[in-house]
Symmetry: C2
Subunit: 232 residues, 2 copies
């Protein structure tokens, strides 16, 4: 199970070995890692190196440290990877248009997939979100309802990568377009346009009309994109 | 510039503060971080916490540690984030079809964008890659030429996120579909089909025919996808 390590960047090798145990199926979601002491004994490295490796895995979002219980491979990774991507995007001099371009490419297609694959429960949830967005007067609620509407459509794909990528885009929008994102929802005129667009997307999906769902999603994101560009 | 920290999970706060310095532009690509000693003094935390934070930032791929020189914000992030995404994808029980679905969604569209935006230098490079793939007899070279062909198309978008996402998908294919990926290139019959598909994509892009570029890319990825499904 373990291979003793000889090297200079010791903690990196500890991480690679733990990652390998995940890749070959030895460690699974929710599994408890060996204790710090056991890791020290098995890997033949210092306690400091083990702790550095464990901290790094925590920060990456791969493991959870529970006081008095030990370290566990996380059960859910829905939130993972957000921070580094946004930081790196920022350092690269990333532009908000790039976020909207990715959203358009993926969501125009996920709307079509949703029209083909959506089940009754998912559809009823989507309709509830579209209706709540239409009637809600609270700005913060609206931001949340809008996110959930788009996320519900992504969920229909049952594709972890698509959900993960769109979550990252949503996080990036929060980081870089916070003002524009709430500004668009303050203006009552916009709000009714956006609400109507959500309803149309929802109807196309309900009618299993993939082409129409794509078209309505494209209109919706073009409108949002244009507003953001004019209000940055 | 610095705010002293009082908390239990000390290293996390150190990371957040360093991230904030990036977000507000205090730290830029290639910048040297303050020394461990300065960070200890400024953040009022232990050297251990500072080291844990720095190690974690290294593992995330945000900083480079250079022996005797100190820690630097990385210059390039093209390779970042691969490891965690692939590990998390694995833990989620991710399926190879999900990778191909993302590639299809994005690359069918990037082919169209390339047809609209490609410049002479990029086009000449793309043609070289398509021709080299057609004539090369070496399996390893072919894998590399195929990757570069797809990456050159993505580069035309000048969208960091798109390039980053497609790089991640390529890394995931290497991890999960290594055998299928080279198997498809060993069979001489396949090789000539794939080479002809690359040439057709290239021609559509050269003719600035966005619809045709998308269509040819779709055919190409459908063919690859089908082969992978039948040979897993």
């Amino acid at each position: 199970m373990f291979t003793p390590i000889k090297s200079t960047k010791v903690y990196e090798h500890v991480i690679v070995q733990i990652e390998n145990m995940i890749m070959d199926g030895t460690l699974k979601r929710g599994d408890k890692l060996p204790s710090e002491r056991e890791l020290v004994d098995n890997f033949k490295v210092s306690r400091t190196s083990i702790r550095e490796a464990l901290r790094a895995l925590q920060v990456i979002g791969l493991i959870d440290s529970r006081q008095g219980e030990g370290n566990f491979i996380k059960q859910s990774f829905e939130d993972s990877l957000f921070e580094p991507l946004s930081i790196i995007f920022m350092l690269q001099g990333g532009k908000p248009e790039e976020i909207m371009e990715v959203r358009k490419i993926i969501e125009v297609k996920t709307a079509a997939i949703a029209a083909e694959k959506i089940n009754d429960e998912q559809l009823s949830n989507l309709e509830k979100l579209a209706n709540a967005f239409k009637t809600s007067k609270d700005e913060k609620d609206n931001v949340e309802l809008d996110k959930q509407f788009h996320y519900q459509i992504a969920q229909v794909t049952e594709n972890f990568l698509i959900k993960n990528i769109l979550n990252s885009m949503s996080f990036l929008m929060d980081s870089f377009l916070k003002e524009a994102r709430s500004k668009i929802l303050v203006d009552k005129g916009n709000l009714s346009v956006l609400a109507a667009q959500h309803i149309k997307i929802c109807e196309a999906i309900k009618n299993h009309d993939a082409a129409m769902a794509s078209e309505e999603m494209k209109k919706h994101l073009d409108f949002t994109d244009k507003y953001i560009r004019n209000n940055m």
